[in-house]
Amino acid sequence: MLQPYFQWMNDLAVSKAIGESIWIYPLVQAIHLLFLALFAGSLLIVDLRLMGWGMREQPVAKVARDAWPWMILGFVGLVVTGIPQLMQNAMREYFSEFFWIKMYVLPIALIYTFTIRRMVSMADESRVAPAMSKLTGFASILLWIGGVAVPSRLIGLFT
């Protein structure tokens, strides 16, 4: 269904130019990883805390509030550096199962992060059951690392 759009993206002059340059694509990949580190750090610092590990002396809400802007910045950076990679490889991505796993899990992870995870992590801790808090952190790691990051790495390894 989406194939014509991917084909169109694949054939854009910009996409071709990215593919022809020997250094643009590798550099974009590298910067993508830098933003991944930022994103993963600001994600995990909160998820570990939710699970009762990491910065245990600190209320979850404080940790979550501090980490939030960095997570947004990390995510924006990932998107900005992800799009050129998609453009340059549009048809390969279209036929990659891992790409579609990533694309299906990504919106779920995003919605989850902006709703349930945000509410639980920013809430007054006395009103959140420890089991609920642990589950929230665990689901976040599962979605982002297991559902988004791992399939992303696999796109390039199995094509």
Binding site: I22, L38, G41, W53, M55, K62, A67, A149, V150, L154
Partner: protein
């Protein structure tokens, strides 16, 4: 640089001839598995290092005293580092000659050594007076410098690592 690495050549070459090494680089799933796990551990290690460095720079995680951040994140950073180092070693073991002749691999190794020196220097210099700036909105120059160097050096490690497959300078 080639001369500097010469003594390592025989070692790397001998490893590349080992049966397990050959099996690893020819495996369809084991090699990719290690690549994936390496990146996951990188997320844990580099991610939490950045969180600490942002605090040192005075721009992030400011509601938490530095000592607490350091104490609580350290074990997780060590888990990430150990995991990344072990999976990394396995990858080198599986294809030593690919890494031996690769400028980005050696740059990555060098940057990691410098990053370790930076961490040690911080520990013995700026961290010595941590009681006086643990809660400070603006950490002292030494702490900021260690944080900036940490971000830059580990950033270079990641960039160099990602560029290893693109060996533009191999002859």
């Amino acid at each position: 640089m080639a001369d500097l690495l010469k003594p390592l050549h025989d070692l790397f070459f001998a490893i590349s001839e080992m049966e397990n090494s050959i099996a690893l680089r020819e495996s369809q799933f084991v090699w990719p598995l290690f690549e994936v796990v390496h990146v996951v551990f990188m997320c844990l290690f580099a991610g939490l290092i950045v969180m600490m460095d942002l605090r040192l720079l005075g721009v992030g995680n400011m509601q938490t005293p530095f000592t607490q951040l350091q104490k609580r994140l350290f074990p997780w950073q060590m888990v990430g580092m150990t995991g990344a180092a072990m999976t990394g070693l396995v990858l080198v073991f599986g294809d030593p000659m690919r890494f031996y002749g690769n400028i980005f691999f050696w740059m990555k190794m060098l940057m990691m050594v410098i990053a370790a020196v930076n961490a040690m220097a911080f520990h013995y210099i700026a961290y010595f007076s941590v009681d006086s700036w643990d809660n400070a909105r603006v950490p002292p120059f030494g702490a900021k410098l260690a944080g900036a160097l940490g971000v830059a050096l580990w950033g270079f490690v990641i960039i160099a690592g990602r560029l290893i497959p693109y060996n533009w300078f191999q002859n």
